[in-house]
């Protein structure tokens, strides 16, 4: 979701493993190991310089992309979900991914550095965005 092709995906995966390896000595059991790992993985994904991709902000063009996805394989809900999440900002992607991984708001707050209340607010906004994107016919 943070990359647009397989090569970039492999590079990002490698970078995550490298950063996990480097950061592991600083793990102090103050947080859960999964929280620590998510922090490193998402920080690596967000902070990296990625090759420019065509960024469209117009809802119409986003809808068009999703419509294409629907037409391609209407039953493939996951594909649709992926396509919708792709349209979110990198920060929103992090939050929604943690949400989908069933992380409680407290843990999402610990990973992102914002309060649990704000995570809830942010999640509502993301849900609204996704609802618009997912319900495009």
């Amino acid at each position: 979701m943070y990359t647009s092709n397989q090569d970039d995906h492999n590079d990002l995966f490698q970078e995550m493993i490298l950063q996990l390896w480097k950061a592991f000595p600083s793990f102090r059991n103050e947080a859960k190991i999964t929280t620590f790992m998510y922090r490193i993985a998402l920080n690596t994904a967000i902070s990296g310089i990625r090759k420019k991709k065509i960024k469209t902000t117009e809802l119409e063009s986003i809808s068009f992309q999703i419509k294409e996805t629907i037409e391609e394989n209407f039953s493939d809900e996951l594909k649709l979900l992926h396509a919708s999440i792709e349209q979110l900002s990198d920060v929103e992607k992090s939050i929604v991914l943690l949400f989908l991984e069933d992380k409680p708001y407290d843990e999402i707050a610990e990973i992102t550095g914002i309060s649990a209340n704000y995570v809830a607010v942010k999640m509502n906004r993301i849900k609204e965005k996704l609802r618009k994107l997912l319900n495009v016919k």
Binding site: Q14, L18, Q19, R39, N43, I46, L78, V91, N135
Partner: protein, 212 residues
């Protein structure tokens, strides 16, 4: 139509089983760990190291100038530049490189990491900007002086005394004009190098801070 309430179910149904299957072999991890890091911090370190190398080369050139030209005003000017500008700036560069070497952001939460990263990137751009601005007039001054010296040796521009005050003043003015002209180019280059990335990171940070 996909309902939002089903999102987690869709995710679990499709992603969770594949995650369980993705066991990575020890050899594969070893291979990945041997790879070159592409993180922004590593790029910063590499850029700063390159800057230090370039600065050392320039420093050596500046130090060699008095021996080459054998002129008192030029010697005084370049020794002063070495002692008051080049050597302190080189130490500053090395200090910043060491700081960056110890710097680690990835284990922090995303907001703290973004704040630290933006700060480091802005610091680096400032160092790079002023470092290049310092180098610009000296490079032009040395090059112009060397050109004039060599041309005279070849029998051209004999009416010029390269060490006379007016000639030195013209070269110095030329170097300063070049520095002023390089200012917008340098700004543009730095924006191209990291500026847009800083803007993106700032947008992310703003997004995380907007309600807090």
């Amino acid at each position: 139509m996909v309902e939002l309430e089903n999102l987690k179910d869709i995710w679990k149904q499709h992603i969770d089983p594949t995650i369980d299957k993705q066991n990575i072999e020890k050899q594969e991890i070893e291979r990945l760990l041997k790879g070159r890091s592409t993180s922004i911090l590593e790029k910063l370190k590499r850029n700063l190291l390159l800057e230090i190398a370039m600065f050392v080369v320039c420093l050596l050139l500046v130090a060699a100038v008095p021996f080459y030209f054998n002129s008192t005003p030029v010697t005084i000017l370049f020794i002063a530049a070495l002692v008051f500008i080049f050597i302190p700036y080189l130490f500053y560069y090395i200090k910043k490189y060491n700081e960056l070497n110890k710097f680690s952001i990835f284990h922090n939460d995303i907001k703290t990491s973004l704040q630290s990263l933006i700060l480091q990137l802005e610091k680096f751009l400032k160092i790079y900007f002023y470092g290049s601005l310092i180098l610009a007039p000296f490079s032009v001054f040395i090059s112009a002086l060397a050109c004039l010296y060599e041309m005279k040796a070849l029998g051209y521009l004999l009416y010029f005394d390269e060490f006379s005050k007016p000639t030195l003043a013209i070269i110095l003015s030329f170097a300063l004009v070049f520095t002023l002209l390089s200012y917008p180019i340098l700004k543009w280059y730095l924006r191209k190098l990291y500026g847009q990335h800083i803007e993106t990171l700032k947008e992310y940070l703003k997004e995380l801070e907007e309600v807090e």
